[in-house]
């Protein structure tokens, strides 16, 4: 089995959760989200972020507004919607349960 592939699959599964988590603290630009996710090593290549961001926006979990920038064209400024916050709370619970389950199996 391809180890790298399994690891990548694990990361991809939690990426959506992490995006919502980052935005729950404050609204920010895509590049800020990337920075945090890279620091936490959840994301390896930046391209993975964009289809997810768009999908979450289309699902109503987040929204963006255009922020003017002195150095160039306007940039998207993302924030969580109320639906996004509910969704995140749900995922928080799921995550805790998942961690408990896996630890139970690992440490038996």
């Amino acid at each position: 089995m391809d180890l790298e592939n399994t690891k990548a699959q694990m990361r991809k599964g939690i990426l959506e959760y992490c995006i919502l988590s980052v935005l729950s603290r404050n609204a920010c630009y895509a590049s800020d989200i990337i920075k945090e996710l890279k620091e936490a090593e959840v994301i390896v290549v930046e391209g993975t972020l964009y289809p997810l961001l768009t999908r979450q926006k289309n699902a109503g979990l987040l929204r963006y507004r255009w922020e003017e920038s002195q150095q160039g064209p306007p940039r998207k400024y993302y924030e969580l919607t109320d639906e996004g916050r509910t969704h995140l709370a749900d995922l928080d619970k799921s995550w805790k349960q998942l961690v408990e389950s896996v630890n139970q199996i690992r440490t038996r």
């Binding site: 990548a8 964009y50 940039r75």
Partner: protein, 196 residues
């Protein structure tokens, strides 16, 4: 000295070497194909372009005014290839572009003994070509009909030359994913042979 191209990437203007431009164009085109099945594909691509423009802007200084091929390759490795980005929840464009699994019989000249007829038939039915060969030999011994059938098939069945044909021979859908796998396998087997 090189020719440069002037591009608009994500709303920013860049001067970029001609060869770097060709590579960037190819990369963006691959991403476009990859996301073609997705809703909002143009929005995703636009976001990616914007991000790449941000990366390129950090490369431009008063000493370096042109984006070169190293910059493009570095940006590509940061953003990731379509395979790296590929996710399984969204409809994969690779699947969308596959021919609907035409299952055709070809002559498999790569694995042939004489003309690849038995290999090709084995590939089509997913059985060991040896079984097909035995059947032919038996038919040939029993009055020569096997030879005639073989010759007819040799003339009628086309040779599987392209990678796409080789994939179709086995009945798999021809998409970017499978083509990539096939080419990779061939490359690996050539490499193994060269290692002696």
């Amino acid at each position: 000295m090189k020719i440069t191209v002037s591009i608009n990437l994500g709303g920013y203007s860049f001067d970029i070497d001609e060869d770097a431009y060709a590579e960037l164009k190819r990369y963006l085109r691959n991403l476009e194909l990859h996301f073609a099945g997705e809703e909002s594909s143009s929005e995703i691509l636009s976001d990616i372009e914007t991000r790449m423009a941000e990366l390129f802007r950090t490369k431009i200084t008063s000493y370096k005014q042109v984006i070169n091929i190293e910059d493009v390759r570095q940006a590509m490795s940061i953003m990731g290839t379509p395979e790296d980005i590929s996710d399984n929840d969204g409809p994969s464009a690779g699947e969308k572009f596959s021919s609907p699994g035409y299952h055709r019989m070809y002559r498999d000249t790569e694995h042939r003994i004489i003309g690849g007829v038995c290999s090709g038939m084995g590939a089509y039915w997913n059985i060991d070509p040896l079984i097909v060969r035995i059947i032919f030999v038996v038919l040939a011994l029993g009055g020569g009909i096997g030879v005639l059938v073989y010759l007819i098939l040799y003339i009628v069945l086309p040779e599987a030359k392209t990678t796409a044909q080789k994939i179709e021979m086995k009945g798999n859908p021809v998409n970017i994913h499978n083509i990539k796998d096939s080419v990779k396998k061939e490359f690996d087997s050539v490499r193994k042979n060269m290692k002696l």
